[in-house]
Symmetry: C2
Subunit: 322 residues, 2 copies
């Protein structure tokens, strides 16, 4: 199968929302009047971002999900995406499953594939995603203010727990493992929540490299700090809620520095608490207030006595050790 | 050097034309009222699209140039781009040179880096480029009509000639080799010409996989055919013009199926001939009429007697043999 047949067979679908899709030198997008175009791109490389044994259907889902998660963090409504694919060989069964996972998530979000590139090479997937957001209303990392409450969506650390199970550093009951594996391999981007938080949240980021590391970006860009109680960690990890007992320090590590969560961390003025809860309810997304933004720079992790304690959470650096 | 330091040191530059650049979950673009956004993406993999020994400055240039060439083929004015980079290791000298080549071309076209992703992995570069084009005025592959003239910009086949010299299948005088190598490693996208042809050309494509193969896309999508005289081949190859003598069939192969040319092939009504020449002169881009669009489907290569002759030019398929 050649390059053009591969594209025609697995990826060329008519566009409805965008003026021009696959098949010309460029695709054409037309944001509605008054809208800005939000753009994000993520590169996934085998062995670094996914295991070679992963179900291609889940991989197709995840490759788009991690990008949609960036749109969610900006409060942007998905519109279109491009896909670049380097493949070691053309495997029709693999491609069919990959495309199924990809388009299933894309269709759920009304996000159309408008272009791309395919070539032979070590397995790598690069998706660039486009969303619309009313001009001036995008949620930025720089908007957090002292006094704001700090929130997260969903639960944290379970994806990393699955990765540790794959690596053999923890042993999990089958049910816990399957739930955690689902979080690792098939994250659900919080697009509806992100859009519902426009005009309510003061800042937002998606948690991909671990809460502590990603939160640090928000704090730095906003010129503020935050305090978060470590004691909340067990309740923020779904596996603990489901009854799994782990060493407390391990739970804290998973929750604050696990990575691959694709939840939103966001801030909002205390006066917006009801509006945040209403947005969460409207979009059927659990949210939890986990701390408070303060004027003094830095992230303070508080012990049981409410005192700041030292922890070296690194977050996930794609050039550092995992 | 970690991921964030790498980005800050080599790639994070303030944006002027776009509302938001690097450093948040998304970049923000705002096409002017009445403009559509043209989007294209190209993935370059070491060993397939470039040699491991290539000067990183030239590689940075080429990675963006091949994308700008797609904008040129649509008649779109460059606006912004994203860069995804998989690197086997962090080599500051290599990155500095790569960034220099990249930004030098980007600045020449007013095209801003607004986002990206970096990770460790086998060397691969994915750029997605964004341009503006007035709604409804993009040059498409589907607009060629019987009676139109078929044009190309610049010269064809020299990039492939350099590749063959690297492979040892031809031996070239030093001067010819250097000129051909420049075409292979540092192509100049025909952006000014593409934009000048809006409202004049009926269809356009950029020649990346070889003239015969890329022209076939235009003919198929336009529902037409074309006739081109093979005898023009020597004059379309810069090396021949410079005095190099090659086997005639080899010259035809280079010109019609060389690949990596990044010239424009475009069609225009015969009545637009003066307008085409004026656009070419205004943008200091040589153009040559090489044939005519006809109602009968298919590309007819004409021999010296003006009779169609059979040639099996494959064009460049990224999953076929090179």
């Amino acid at each position: 199968m050649g390059e053009f047949e591969l594209i025609a067979r697995f990826f060329d679908r008519p566009v409805r929302r965008n003026p021009l899709g696959i098949g010309d030198d460029c695709a054409l997008l037309q944001p509605a009047p008054g809208m800005q175009l939000a753009v994000s791109t993520d590169l996934l490389v085998e062995g670094r971002h996914f295991l070679s044994t992963v179900d291609p259907r889940r991989l197709g889902h995840k490759a788009l999900a991690v990008n949609l998660s960036d749109l969610a963090a900006c409060g942007a409504q998905p519109l279109a995406f491009t896909l670049s694919l380097a493949l070691p060989q053309v495997d029709a069964a693999w491609l069919g499953a990959f495309a199924q996972g990809l388009f299933s998530l894309a269709d759920a979000h009304g996000c159309e594939l408008v272009g791309g590139d395919t070539t032979r090479g070590p397995l790598a997937i690069n998706i660039t995603v486009f969303g619309e957001v009313p001009a001036g209303q995008a949620l930025l990392r720089s908007g957090a203010r002292a006094g704001d409450e700090l929130w997260i969506s969903g639960t944290l650390g379970d994806a990393r727990l699955a990765l540790e199970a794959f690596r053999g550093t923890v042993s999990l009951p089958q049910e816990v493992f399957e739930a955690a594996r689902q979080r690792l391999e098939q994250p659900e981007p919080r697009v509806a929540l992100g859009c519902a938080l426009r005009g309510i949240a003061s800042a937002a980021i998606d948690i991909s490299d671990g809460l502590a590391g990603d939160l640090a970006h928000v704090l730095r860009r906003s010129g503020v700090g935050a305090s978060v109680a470590l004691a909340q960690a067990p309740q923020l990890l779904a596996a603990t809620r489901a009854g799994l007992r782990l060493d407390p320090q391990q739970v804290e590590e998973l929750v604050f520095a696990g990575g691959d969560d694709y939840e939103l961390a966001f801030t909002a003025p205390a006066a917006q608490r009801e509006a945040v809860l209403a947005a969460a309810q409207r979009t059927a997304t659990p949210v939890t207030p986990i701390g408070r933004i303060e004027a003094a720079a830095g992230l303070r992790l508080l012990d049981a006595a409410g005192q700041p304690t030292q922890r070296a959470f690194g977050g996930f650096d794609h050039f550092g050790a995992v």
